[in-house]
């Protein structure tokens, strides 16, 4: 059997690493990726472990890298990803990396602060520019009104002098001094701002506001915000203080705005030139920043990988025990037996790299009663299928791995549902293209989630396409149209047809040439009006046949497991009743389907019984005396079905109760015996001083003993009665669920 049939044998090994060599050895093991380390310090909390400072330093470096990456992303610089996989750097390089990151972060920070200051300056100036521009138009309007009024007055003044009332109105703006404040506030706060100003002044302010159309950039957050220019006119010093306080409360920026037109113009000119100067400075800083960040972007990916590797190595080292002399790290790991050689070599490489002798790293295989982890070695073809199976549940150690059979059964069952040769061909083509250009596509490193799913399952898609072509051929469906490849067996000459309105009825007795269509469904069905009825009945039967076959297959695989693990009780109390149960209902049904296909031809079609009703009646034990004069399906049908039903019902308590009861009695009887036996095993595992009692064993073996005892406890715990009942009940439901599904299908 191939290695995929059962998971690979895995051994528990003990690792002895000299302190100096441990880092590079673990680095090599990490690159190999064939070892699952065990955490031996579960009871020690995270910050009390040995290498916690190193881990923390790595975290600090990661933080700096994250900061740099964020800055790079903000500037939309592409991060170079060559796909290189650098080795973990030596521990002494860590300091260099730290210093370099520190320097870069500082540089970027400095640039940021200066850029921020510049931008703040720029924002202030732009806002001032807007204020001047907006208020300019406003004041202009006022002036024009005033001027025109003045001209009117002069024109009229020569004629009459009875305009005293008007005159006094006109003079008002000159005699009472209105003060004003000009500034900029965020547009979303504008209404609340106005309302509050109105309230504190009892309505004694005049507010003019104009929106700034272009959004301005906030120098700190970098977001663009919409703002408005406002002008507040009021009277009196007290009100002025209040207005200023409100402005401060709403983060409004107030700018000095000169009173006369000429001054304003002059100021506007000044602002424009300053903005231009500032622009050049800002561009220069940005160019500098861009250059710096681009150079960082080239290597940041490599750095992150390096730092993560260092962190992972120290993290793994935290899982090791440290012996009393502080000279070596002791760890436990699971590794596939077949890979032991490679692991040994990797350890030697690591030891050599750190300059220690080859004996610096020792891998020592141990005996254990623990359940090892499941390891399936997969390749690029099988990994997708293994992934599908694993998403439902990972098989226990050395159990039969369903992935092997899934390679064929999954695409096949898919194709039964898909069932179109034309569409299947496209799918096949897509899968084929991905397979052919595999290497090139991997190199392109497309980082879209959906693509990962498709590309990861390219072999699945390929097979699904292939099987769909086959199923489509069998269903005679090509882009939902039939293909008449072998020539239909039905003849459509009008002589023998009964024409009824728009439809012509073809009789299977008169209108066929007696030879079945060579393969698949006859194309004539695709254009018949009862196509759905015919094909549904056919496909449903096919589904039941395949579904039941699959269930039988699954139960047989469980038999393989029981035999492999030598669990006789499971064979008698699970496998056999399951088989009987399945056979009595669904096996029988499948036999009936085939029997019906063979036993009835077109001339007897009216007498063919409905299997669905038949199955229901089998459970209801109803056997009607024949009204239509048709004979039963076969002689003695009633006796056979009653017999099957009784068997089936007997299986239920058998399946549910026998195994838990047996286990219960066994445990009751064997409690003392079992304890003695496990004690014996413990002694052997200790393996140092057989004659000594447990308490006098040396410390180290004592540790081993303790662990073994714990493990035994765990095993016993799982064996509880309730657990057993539950697991059996779930076993039962496992069998029942697909049965129910099938019943619904029927």
């Amino acid at each position: 059997m191939g290695s995929l049939y059962r998971s690979e044998p895995v051994a528990l090994c003990q690792l002895f690493l000299q302190s100096e060599a441990s880092y590079s050895c673990l680095s090599e093991l990490g690159e190999l990726g064939m070892v699952q380390l065990k955490d031996l310090n579960v009871t020690v909390s995270a910050f009390q472990r040995k290498f916690v400072t190193e881990v923390r330093r790595c975290e600090e470096m990661e933080r700096k890298l994250r900061f740099l990456e964020k800055e790079i992303r903000e500037d939309d610089i592409v991060i170079l990803d060559t796909g290189d996989n650098p080795e973990a750097p030596a521990p002494r390089e860590m300091t260099d990396l730290e210093l370099m990151f520190e320097r870069l972060v500082k540089e970027v920070r400095d640039l940021n602060t200066s850029a921020e200051a510049l931008k703040q300056n720029f924002l202030d100036l732009t806002q001032l520019k807007h204020i001047l521009r907006k208020t300019h138009s406003f004041f202009d309007e006022v002036d024009r009104h005033y001027d025109s009024a003045l001209i009117d007055l002069q024109a009229e003044g020569t004629e009459s002098v009875n305009l005293l009332a008007d005159d006094s109105l006109l003079v008002t703006p000159h005699t009472i001094r209105f003060e004003f404040v000009a500034g900029v506030v965020e547009r979303q706060h504008l209404s609340a701002f106005e309302r509050m100003l109105w309230r504190i002044s009892m309505g004694n302010v005049l507010i003019k506001q104009v929106d700034i159309e272009t959004p301005l950039e906030d120098p700190i957050t970098g977001n663009s915000v919409l703002k408005s220019v406002f002008l507040i006119f009021f009277q009196g010093e007290q009100l002025k203080a209040k207005v200023k306080k409100v402005c401060a409360g709403f983060h409004a920026t107030i700018y000095p705005c000169p009173e006369t037109k000429a001054q304003r113009r002059e100021m506007a000119m000044g602002v424009m030139t300053r903005i231009e100067d500032l622009n050049t400075v800002i561009t220069q800083t940005e160019v500098h920043r861009f250059a710096l960040l681009s150079s960082i972007a080239e290597s940041i990916r490599i750095w992150s990988i390096k730092v993560r590797k260092i962190k992972t190595i120290y993290h793994a080292m935290n899982w090791f025990n440290i012996d009393i002399t502080q000279k070596c790290l002791i760890g436990e790991c699971w590794c596939p037996v077949a890979q032991l050689e490679r692991i040994q070599r990797a350890l030697q490489r690591g030891a050599a790299k750190s300059g220690c002798s080859e004996s610096a790293a020792i891998l020592n295989r141990m005996d254990t009663r623990e359940q090892p982890p499941t390891y399936h070695s997969t390749n690029k073809f099988t990994s997708a299928f293994q992934g599908i199976v694993d998403s439902y549940g990972v098989a226990s150690y050395r159990e039969v791995n369903p992935a092997l059979f899934t390679i064929i059964s999954f695409p096949f069952l898919f194709s039964l549902m898909f069932g179109d040769a034309g569409h299947g061909f496209f799918m096949f083509l897509a899968g084929l293209l991905m397979v052919i250009f595999e290497n090139r596509l991997i190199r392109m490193r497309i980082t879209v989630d959906v693509w990962d799913i498709f590309f990861g399952g390219r072999y699945v898609i390929l097979l699904m396409g292939l099987f769909s072509i086959y199923a489509g051929f069998m269903y005679n469906d090509f882009f939902s149209k039939p293909l008449n490849i072998f020539g239909s067996s039905w003849s459509t000459d009008l002589k023998n047809m009964t024409v009824d309105g728009r439809y012509a009825s073809l009789s299977p007795i008169n209108n066929t040439n007696g030879v079945p269509y060579f393969a698949g469904i006859d194309p004539v069905w695709q254009m018949s009006s009862n196509k759905i009825t015919f094909l549904n009945s056919f496909k449903m039967k096919i589904s039941i046949i395949f579904g039941v076959t699959q269930m039988f297959f699954g139960v047989i695989l469980s038999f393989q497991n029981h035999r492999y693990f030598n669990e006789r009780i499971n064979i008698y109390c699970e496998f056999i009743p399951e088989m009987i149960f399945l056979f009595c209902i669904f096996g029988y049904l499948v036999i009936l389907i085939f029997y019906k296909w063979l036993a009835y031809d077109a001339s007897e079609a009216s007498c063919a019984p409905s299997l669905l009703i038949g199955l229901i009646n089998m459970f209801l034990m109803q056997y009607d005396t024949k009204e239509d004069g048709c004979p039963p399906l076969f002689k003695g049908q009633q006796a056979v079905q009653t017999c099957l039903l009784v068997l089936c019902i007997l299986c239920v308590p058998w399946l549910l109760l026998v195994k838990p009861l047996v286990k219960h009695y066994e445990r009751k009887r064997g409690l003392t015996y079992g304890a003695a036996r496990s004690g014996y095993v413990l002694m052997r595992n200790g393996d140092i001083e057989l004659q000594a009692s447990h308490s006098t064993l040396s410390i180290q073996s004592g540790d081993v003993l303790l662990q073994d005892q714990q493990r035994d406890e765990v095993v016993h715990h799982v064996d509880g009665d309730d657990e057993e009942c539950l697991s059996n009940a779930s076993e039962e439901t496992e069998v029942r669920m697909p049965c129910n599904a099938n019943t619904i299908l029927v």
Binding site: A46, F47, R63, H189, A192, M196, I200, K242, G249
Partner: protein, 348 residues
């Protein structure tokens, strides 16, 4: 709002808040946190809880205030998320929760400006859940009337403020009175609102708010000993939705010292226990802590029932307690004050 239709509008959020609740730091985690020797240890351990990497972007010498801010930030993000997802009446309910924080913020700002602090240094100290648009302009008001007319009239707190409008200038005693008057009006209004919601929400929230009201009444009484607050004024500050109303209130008004308050509490079984178990010795827990413990117990009860809004209130309160706990432990770690480190109040 009945259990039949509850899930249509609020099922998602209830599920969400129950999920959040299971992320509350457990007793086992506190035991680990207490063994920390530096704040970086604390950070490392908090990473294994629901807080995850919330401190990972902070540079290394950590400060307690940063931890505090970050914990609060996380709660605020969660709360804002729920608030934006919610519809009436849950959204109104959640708004009510924020009013309490708004009152605290207003009082903080007034006190701050009285002590000549600038607004900009006070704003970061405000709880973000209770921030509102006009908050930063609060310093313009010098009298209570101005405060109401200019600032508070646009906020949801305006109706609560009606009772304390006067031409008086703001001073220390005033502020405490404002806080308690506002809080009283707020609690009573919240209580009334919860009654309109009916069913489990009303049942649960009336119990919780009654406790909150009684706690305030007792605390106000104890704190008023030796101050200028007259007994009549004291009576006006008691929220009238608790179990102490009305008999307990009249007794509290007459109280002159701690023993009197204890005697009043004797008549109420749940508060009697709190007084019996508390004390001022360093080994005993203070009355305040006992109140917190009782609150946590009440809040945990919210999660035993389904289809009500109480869990949102309870979650915010529990998170706040957790915040206090972690900050307490962090302070103890930072000041190397290991003996008092177990003074936190375990939640789960």
């Amino acid at each position: 709002m009945n259990s039949l239709n509850f899930n249509i509008d609020f099922g998602y959020l209830e599920g969400l808040v129950r999920g959040f609740k299971s992320g509350i730091v457990k007793q086992a985690d506190y035991l680990n946190l207490m063994q920390c020797e530096t704040l970086d240890d604390l950070k490392l351990h908090l990473q294994s809880t629901d807080y995850g990497n919330f401190l990972s972007n902070e540079p290394s010498p950590l400060q307690v205030s940063i931890i505090d801010d970050k914990i609060r930030e996380k709660l605020v993000i969660e709360f804002e998320h729920m608030r934006t997802q919610s519809v009436v009446p849950l959204s109104t309910f959640l708004d009510y929760i924020t009013y309490g924080y708004m009152i605290d913020n207003i009082v903080l700002l007034i006190t701050g400006t009285l002590h000549q602090h600038t607004i900009s240094e006070l704003i970061p100290k405000c709880h973000p859940l209770g921030s509102f648009e006009q908050m930063e302009a609060l310093s313009i008001a010098s009298t209570l009337l101005e405060l109401y007319n200019a600032v508070l009239v646009d906020t949801p707190l305006a109706p609560y403020f009606i009772d304390c409008i006067s031409e008086q200038d703001i001073d220390e005693l005033n502020i405490e009175i404002i806080r308690n008057t506002l809080y009283r009006a707020y609690l009573e209004d919240f209580y009334k609102f919860c009654q309109t919601l009916g069913s489990t929400t009303a049942d649960y929230m009336s119990e919780v708010l009654a406790f909150e009201a009684d706690r305030r009444a007792i605390t106000i009484t104890i704190n008023s000993f030796g101050t200028e607050l007259t007994k009549d004024d004291r009576a006006t500050l008691f929220p009238r939705c608790g179990k102490l109303f009305p008999e307990g209130h009249s007794a509290l008004v007459r109280a002159d010292d701690y023993e009197h308050v204890r005697a009043v509490a004797e008549f109420y079984s749940e508060y009697r226990i709190l007084f019996e178990e508390s004390g001022n010795n360093p080994t005993e827990k203070t009355l305040e802590d006992k109140f917190f413990e009782h609150e946590v117990m009440l809040m945990k009860k919210a999660f035993l029932e389904q289809f009500h809004f109480g869990i949102f209130y309870a979650y915010v309160k529990l998170k706040e307690q957790e915040n206090r706990n972690i900050v307490w432990i962090a302070e103890c770690v930072a000041q190397r004050h290991q003996t008092r480190i177990d003074g936190y109040i375990p939640i789960f």
